[in-house]
């Protein structure tokens, strides 16, 4: 939190004249350019999956994007809520048509969760691939991006006490559609607002529910971040 306040303060009052930061907006980065964000997100779990068992706590997010030649960027995202953690790394290739920027993205996400408290001796982990496509438009410094990703679950393992089960069978486990707004909200304090609709089988966010629902469900997700 102190680090976040420091960055906010420095961005607001240092008179920094770097280009406006953005991460999701699919316009290409200059080579070696780096932008990052800190924020929080919350996923609304389907009530009939988690019932009263799981409290909804926001995840803390760190996201970074680094520019490479040929309109390619590297991306990194880390999200945590202590018992559930996700690390994603990938690449983005950008292309511009007039005022519209487009990008193809691909990320690999490793997620792991653990519960070692009363009644639990459990941990679980999975590997996902997330190919996606995004389109964005810049309107008077409001950068609006629409993005769609596919979630491909590559493997998942669960350990409970001395036993474990796992699977390596890849399967499409969801589709994520997002609308993201990146803008200067106040005196060069840039923020990102993302609304996502995860249309997926019960996903890593609710791993502790051990749901057997084979239905695809909607998990709305709201993320707010400060951009640097």
């Amino acid at each position: 939190m102190m680090l976040l306040l420091f960055f906010l303060f420095s961005r607001s009052y240092s008179g920094d004249n770097r280009s406006d930061p953005y991460i999701s907006y699919p316009r290409s980065f200059e080579e070696n350019a780096l932008h990052y964000s800190f924020g929080a997100s919350i996923t609304i779990f389907p009530r009939f999956v988690v019932e009263e068992e799981i409290r909804q706590i926001p995840m803390v997010n760190f996201t970074a994007r680094y520019g490479l030649p040929s309109n390619v960027s590297l991306t990194l995202q880390i999200s945590t809520v202590f018992i559930t953690n996700v690390v994603s790394a990938g690449a983005m290739w950008s292309y511009r048509i007039g005022n519209v920027s487009l990008a193809l993205t691909d990320d690999f996400s490793y997620w792991f969760g653990f519960a070692d408290f009363e009644g639990f001796d459990t941990k679980t982990m999975g590997l996902m691939n997330r190919p996606g496509i995004s389109a964005g438009i810049d309107i008077d410094a409001y950068k609006i991006t629409a993005k769609t990703e596919m979630l491909v679950l590559l493997s998942q393992h669960t350990y409970f006490g001395s036993a474990s089960v796992g699977r390596l069978k890849p399967e499409i486990s969801g589709i994520v559609s997002s609308i993201i707004l990146e803008q200067d909200v106040w005196k060069s304090t840039f923020m990102s607002f993302a609304l996502r609709a995860n249309y997926a089988r019960p996903n890593y966010q609710v791993w502790l529910a051990f749901s057997v629902q084979d239905k695809w469900l909607l998990f709305p997700d709201l993320q707010i971040s400060f951009l640097f």
Binding site: P46, S162, V212
Partner: protein, 406 residues
């Protein structure tokens, strides 16, 4: 944006549609005489699937379940429930099939003709290795036409294992024909493969023990716009006036539930999941009363007070119930010994604990694990858990895995 917001709103919906089709006009059973339980029981066994492996997998378990006959398929946690009757010497089985962890279901109709073992089964002669149980199933309410042939393989060797149905038989999210913790679901539990049930007990404002899982009324469990917020804020009369369970049933009292268990089922175990310390003493009185009733009826019925928290254990001790009531304790084995509980019930997420379970058995206690729903997680407990029972939302799945494995 509009699309996204719409999606967000849609996501708040729950799907409680019922997927149990019925034959119009009662089907062939409308003109049939009922079969006796012992006649149905003769069909118990493990069967190889000759026709229908796509739907049912390679083997199935066929078992008499109260007044019904059920087939547990393992594949997709499948279940077939038949009502049974006879016309002359032909045996008629009609009902439904469904994948209990999915939405697919349909009608099912099997028959054993008089010439094809019908007469011999009615005379009490059990099926031989050559016996085939044949019929058809369909999709949804359409006429069943998909052929199913089951070849008798071997008998079921052990039926003493306790398969406990969660919340009386299953959760609302599993789209059952009756609501969770209702009188109706308790009557269906056996046909799902259970021989015991777990029900949730909490007090109303005026101290009436009712069956209700959540601390609060919400659209997840009830219909009725004036029933919102803590259950403990409402008197029993208000609850009965203001709301119903999701399928229109009344919120039942513990007494009503145990009356149903005693008079309308052959269930042998009831796990009362006590949700509030304030209801322990009353639940213990009712437990004692119904154990006596069961005894006077010649029924074997174990009723346990389920204690899941330190707070409940403390109240249990304070009320001096250790010697008079039978408890099921979800805490450590030391807690179990401390309150002389009859059952230890660890959460499955601790993994199989065969040494502790064996120790409990040597002390004359049982071990039930909860709440196991996934096939891959169930197997390690059945094969190496030293368990006496499993609590599940899918009794059909546990029944298949247990009976097929043993």
């Amino acid at each position: 944006m509009v699309v996204t917001v719409s999606i967000v709103l849609i996501s708040c919906e729950t799907d409680n549609s019922i997927v149990v089709p019925e034959f119009s006009n009662g089907g062939k059973l409308a003109g049939a005489l009922p079969l006796e339980r012992k006649q149905i029981q003769m069909l118990n066994g493990i069967y190889d699937v000759i026709d229908g492996t796509d739907q049912f997998g390679k083997i199935v378990v066929v078992k008499q379940t109260g007044n019904t006959l059920s087939i547990f398929t393992g594949k997709n946690a499948g279940l077939v429930v038949f009502h049974c009757g006879k016309i002359d010497s032909s045996l008629i089985f009609e009902g439904y099939w469904r994948y209990t962890q999915g939405s697919e279901s349909g009608l099912a109709q099997f028959e054993i003709s008089a010439e094809d073992n019908g007469k011999s089964l009615l005379r009490g002669i059990p099926p031989t290795m050559s016996f085939q149980f044949r019929g058809v199933i369909g999709d949804a309410s359409s006429e069943p036409t998909t052929k199913i042939t089951l070849q008798y393989n071997r008998p079921i060797s052990d039926t003493s294992f306790v398969i406990l149905a969660h919340r009386g038989g299953g959760r609302n999210s599993d789209r059952l024909a009756e609501s969770e913790n209702s009188l109706g679901i308790i009557q269906l539990a056996e046909s799902f493969g259970a021989n015991g049930i777990e029900i949730d007990v909490r007090p109303t404002k005026d101290g009436v023990p009712i069956l209700f899982h959540d601390e609060n009324f919400s659209p997840r469990l009830v219909d009725g716009e004036y029933c919102v917020g803590p259950v403990s804020n409402y008197t029993f009369a208000a609850i009965r006036t203001l709301c119903t369970l999701k399928n229109g049933e009344r919120v039942p009292t513990l007494r009503e539930a145990l009356d149903v268990v005693l008079n309308k089922t052959t269930l042998s175990v009831v796990w009362l999941d006590i949700k509030s310390p304030d209801v322990i003493a009353q639940a213990a009185e009712i437990q004692k009363e119904y154990k006596q009733k069961a005894s006077s009826m010649g029924r074997t019925l174990d009723i346990y007070l389920g204690l899941a928290t330190e707070e409940l254990v403390a109240r249990y001790k304070k009320e001096d119930l250790i010697t008079s009531a039978g408890a099921l304790c979800e805490l450590s084995v030391n807690n179990v010994r401390d309150i002389k509980a009859k059952v230890w019930a660890p959460r499955w997420t601790l993994g199989p604990l065969p040494a502790d379970a064996q120790q409990m058995r040597s002390e004359g206690r049982k071990t039930f694990v909860w709440t196991l729903d996934q096939r891959e997680f169930i197997l390690p407990f059945i094969t190496g858990g030293n368990l006496d029972g499993i609590l599940t939302n899918y009794p059909a799945l546990v029944a298949f895995e247990y009976y097929a494995f043993h």
